[in-house]
């Protein structure tokens, strides 16, 4: 028999036995039989082990593990009602499990904002205009998170002379933005964005990645392929000509997006390139926004985002 044929025979045998076991599991009376069935299933897998591809074998093992877990939970469910002693034990066990997992989770959750305060971070704002003045310069790692209807402007204003030189940013991490305009200068390192909804992002960086985002426009200058993953309705365009730094980076690959959520040869439905006229409109809006005083700019967020 050819190996592919043997595999399909084994597959059919395995699935048939698995089905029987699952049926046995429906009634607690047949629990022992389900257990025996699983054991024999495991045996045929071990016997066939040398013949199966490693990946398939792994898949079968996982399925057996799932069956064993199901049997175990069925057993725990039926036992406490019959014996008080076990019930007590089970209760203690679940209590100790609860105490071991639950305190660690809140502890880490509360720890995250604490450590984040040491970096250059902008977090948890609504309807705010955030410029360089409200950012700590202690760090070169920029973290932007949880903003709603905000404008973050870290592009040096053309007429602003108070900042002799734009502070260097080496990495950008962004998470959870809605209806926000994020304007960033040239980043030495990479930018990684997560969970954006109805946003405009302007950035120049070495590497660009965006995950789990929808309905946003990205004006980008990057020498490497931008990566998108689990995104939809993204528009890509070039970085507006605002400062001299954009020219130094040379050619940009903002139009050569790689979509990891769409691994087929066909064009990805999750992003498109802005047409030159659309791009021009975006650039003009960004330029005008940079010239607008913060209060007026905030009032115009909805207009700018509604493209």
């Amino acid at each position: 028999m050819a190996s592919a044929e043997r595999h399909s025979v084994f597959y059919a045998e395995f699935q048939a036995r698995k089905k029987d076991i699952l049926k046995d599991l429906e009634d607690p009376i047949n629990l022992t039989r389900a257990n025996e069935g699983t054991a024999s299933l495991q045996k045929i897998l071990v016997d066939a082990a040398g013949d199966l591809p490693a990946y398939d074998q792994r898949q079968y093992e996982t399925q057996i593990k799932e069956l064993q877990q199901k049997i175990e939970s069925e057993r725990n469910r039926s036992v406490p009602t019959t014996r008080f002693a076990f019930r007590k034990k089970a209760a203690v066990k679940s209590a100790s499990q609860g105490s071991s997992t639950s305190p660690t989770k809140p502890a880490t959750e509360t720890a995250t904002p604490e450590i984040a305060s040491q970096s250059m971070s902008i977090a948890s704002r609504t309807s705010s205009y955030i410029g360089w003045s409200s950012v700590s310069l202690e760090s070169s790692a920029l973290i932007v998170s949880d903003l709603d209807s905000c404008i973050v402007n870290l592009i040096e204003h053309r007429e602003n002379t108070s900042l002799s030189k734009t502070p260097a940013i080496n990495s950008v991490h962004v998470k959870n933005l809605t209806k926000t305009i994020l304007l960033l200068p040239h980043i030495e390192g990479s930018a990684i964005l997560d969970h954006l909804q109805d946003c405009i992002v302007v950035v120049a960086c070495q590497q660009f990645r965006i995950h789990s985002s929808q309905n946003s426009t990205i004006l980008l200058l990057t020498p490497s392929h931008p990566i998108i993953e689990y995104c939809s309705s993204l528009s890509f365009g070039s970085y507006p000509r605002l400062s001299s730094s954009s020219a130094e980076l040379g050619p940009s690959k903002h139009a050569e997006v790689q979509d990891f959520g769409h691994l087929l040869q066909t064009p990805s439905p999750n992003w498109h390139l802005l047409s030159s006229s659309e791009e021009e409109v975006c650039h003009q809006r960004i330029e005008r926004l940079l010239d607008t005083p913060p209060d007026n700019a905030l009032l115009r967020i909805a207009d700018i985002l509604n493209t």
Binding site: Y55, T108, A111, I115, Q118, S119, S140, G189, Q207, I227
Partner: protein, 188 residues
């Protein structure tokens, strides 16, 4: 001649080690590998699949597998586990938002049967970025002290400056050599 002796003799001839570089996307895996190999690091694109580099380190030939870290690619990591001698887990020390993700992925990796016994090096990368988490912070955040299944070490480093990269790799090679080529070390 026992089986173990046969395996050791076989390995001894080649003196090869297989090292797997893993970590979340944007951790700097490719940059570290390229820097270790004295290549240009200024134009690195996100890794779409994987890359293999062969390097000579002392008396050993290292086969380094640099595998992409995008979430979509992570389920495929398992295809590279076979015969792995060491795992280098690369962490972006400036990525505070995803350190919990990083911890989870590492935890999933360590329960893999095929990685049992592999040496683990955690590279706390991007130390050149001001405001990055320190080695101690990452040791805590990833709960490294609870790892009993693997011989591990954490090493702060910077792929951009090259700081501590060779130091970390040397530890990996020594630790694997002690395990695989034990008994042959003295005679060399």
């Amino acid at each position: 001649m026992g089986l173990l002796t046969v395996i050791r003799k076989n390995r001894q001839k080649e003196k090869e080690m297989r090292i797997l570089f893993l970590g979340l996307d944007n951790a700097g895996k490719s940059t570290i590998v390229k820097k270790l190999n004295d290549e240009d690091i200024s134009r690195i694109s996100p890794t779409l699949g994987f890359e293999i580099k062969t390097m000579i380190h002392g008396r050993y030939t290292l086969n380094i597998w640099d595998v992409g870290g995008q979430r979509t690619l992570r389920p495929y990591w398992r295809n590279y586990f076979e015969r792995t001698d060491a795992v280098v887990w690369v962490v972006d020390s400036s990525d505070r938002l995803r350190i919990q993700d990083c911890k989870e992925e590492l935890k999933n990796l360590l329960v893999e049967d095929r990685l049992a016994g592999a040496t683990l090096l955690v590279f706390a990368n991007k130390q050149d970025i001001r405001g990055s988490m320190s080695e101690a912070e990452i040791r805590g955040a990833l709960d490294l002290m609870s790892i009993k299944s693997h011989n591990w070490r954490i090493q702060s480093c910077s792929a951009v400056t090259g700081e501590n990269l060779k130091l970390g790799l040397s530890w990996v090679v020594e630790d694997v050599a002690r395990r695989l080529y034990y008994g042959t070390l003295a005679s060399d």
